[in-house]
């Protein structure tokens, strides 16, 4: 079966985001960018399905500016067979992304789409669920285990009280949680090979999706700062401070 993995280029997770002084957004000039960590897990899971003989082809797709092709090449180096770049310089929202992805789902007809559960920049946690709604497919979000059996996919989900397993009819949409797998590193020969793998570029505005903004970003501010408090000498002083000064115990 064919597996489609949408990925996103985001700020590297080790970098602390800085707000622009004019408060219009977060400053991303000269900031290290990388593949969103949850997307890496999605790619890894798709590759494992291919190695297990369950998947026949893995297609990576991204939506964004030209620079996003770096992340597609990473996906190809990790083992994806081909890549699709939907090119746009617009800042798109989850609903736009889901609608564009729905067009690719229509075109490629993958039986499984695996996405990250959220991107670490916008922290929305929406795209997979929206794509499932638009393509009328079942959804297995926050997956920590994915098993394809007899035309169904069993997804163990990380929920607030513990774990929940659901069975979805294929085709289906899965979003990954951190514990689904440990992503591999791309080897140098694979990085070289990835340069020759097919990468199709499609202009976003040719897909017939209305990309009008639905949400207006009014301002972005630094959160209220917490300042370092005091260092106590020992446990007795700590307990004393908590009782008499902070009055929390």
């Amino acid at each position: 079966m064919k597996v489609l993995v949408p990925i996103k280029r985001v700020i590297d997770y080790n970098v602390k985001a800085r707000v622009k002084s004019d408060k219009t957004d977060v400053d991303l000039t000269n900031v290290k960018m990388a593949m969103n960590p949850f997307c890496e897990i999605a790619i890894e899971e798709a590759i494992r399905l291919k190695e297990a003989g369950t998947a026949s082809e893995v297609i990576a797709v991204t939506i964004g500016p030209k620079a996003s092709q770096e992340q597609l090449r990473t996906a190809l180096a990790l083992g994806a067979d081909k890549a699709i770049h939907i090119e746009t310089d617009e800042k798109l929202e989850s609903l736009h992304i889901a609608k564009l992805l729905a067009k690719i789902v229509e075109q490629e007809a993958p039986e499984l789409v695996i996405l990250g559960k959220q991107s670490i920049d916008s922290d929305n946690n929406q795209t997979g669920q929206m794509l499932a709604a638009l393509t009328k497919r079942g959804q297995g979000t926050f997956a920590s285990k994915v098993e394809v059996v007899d035309g169904k996919v069993n997804v163990t989900r990380e929920v607030d009280g513990g774990l929940q397993t659901v069975a979805l009819s294929l085709p289906a949409i899965v979003t990954t949680d951190l514990r689904l797998n440990e992503p591999r590193y791309a080897s140098l020969p694979n990085i070289m090979k990835a340069k020759r793998k097919p990468l199709e570029v499609i202009a976003a505005d040719t897909l017939g999706v209305d990309l009008t903004a639905r949400v207006q970003l009014i301002s972005v501010e630094e959160p209220a700062k917490r300042t370092a408090g005091i260092i106590v000498e020992d446990v007795a002083q700590l307990v004393e401070k908590l009782k008499t000064e902070a009055k929390v115990i």
Partner: protein, 308 residues
Amino acid sequence: MKTLVIAEHDNGVLKPETSKTINAAAKLGFPIDVLIAGENLGVLSEEVALINGVASVLVADNAVYAHQLAESMADLVLSLADSYSHIVVSATTTGKNFMPRVAALLDVAQISEIIDVVDAETFKRPIYAGNAIATVKSLDSKKVITVRASSFDLQTEQASAPIKAVNTVSDSALSSFVSDEQTKSERPELTAATVVISGGRGMQNGENFSLLHGIADKLGAAIGASRAAVDAGFVPNDMQVGQTGKIVAPNLYIAVGISGAIQHLAGMKDSKVIVAINKDPDAPIFQVADYGLVADLFDVLPQLEQAL
């Protein structure tokens, strides 16, 4: 203009997130109906009716909704959506699961995890793991919103609101429930506890988390963990506090053997008082802690339990 809030409950227990989310919805300034979906909801729907600000309770009591699967829940909410300008749910794993599906079916954007209501169409929400706060305005006619419950207080009580049955039954063929594996705990729930004590990689193994038990018992605290402790397999993942785990804002948060990575801070930095116990004086956690103790946790934890 009317608001629909979807109640959060689990195994016959109404979650405190419901009351906090109703409080957030009240700031929109419109009448609030609350939908509760599940099985055997008699007592729960009466509890919801007592929360201040609830105009009426809509009860979808059917086996189909027992596990609140996204596909059926989304169809149910969609069937009621015409009467409401705002649809609101708490950003728990259940709410996060079905709400974007509702938004897409309505063809509107979703505003995720709001921490403040500016007006009926403008909201504040954290982005970049809480390193920035965005103020966003929804341009859609219908607003679909999830709420970070820890940013809002519990709502007070009122005289019971009327309870109405909803008879829509949506049994989706797309998905079915297989099994549940609940983590059992005698302690207060992490997101609702007034005191939280969390262990990190410094705990070294799962057994050492028992060092936290005595302290948690004396303080009536819930026990949490950093992602490092969860990934190392010390404790189950539903104990994880952080950007990708639970967001907590207790009166007292005690971080033990936790360095204070961005991802962890995103889940606890709105706590009233933060205490850090770490043997590394340069650990970033000390930059946000009100009280820091630079010491070996294995020496300090037994002393702390004694002293309480």
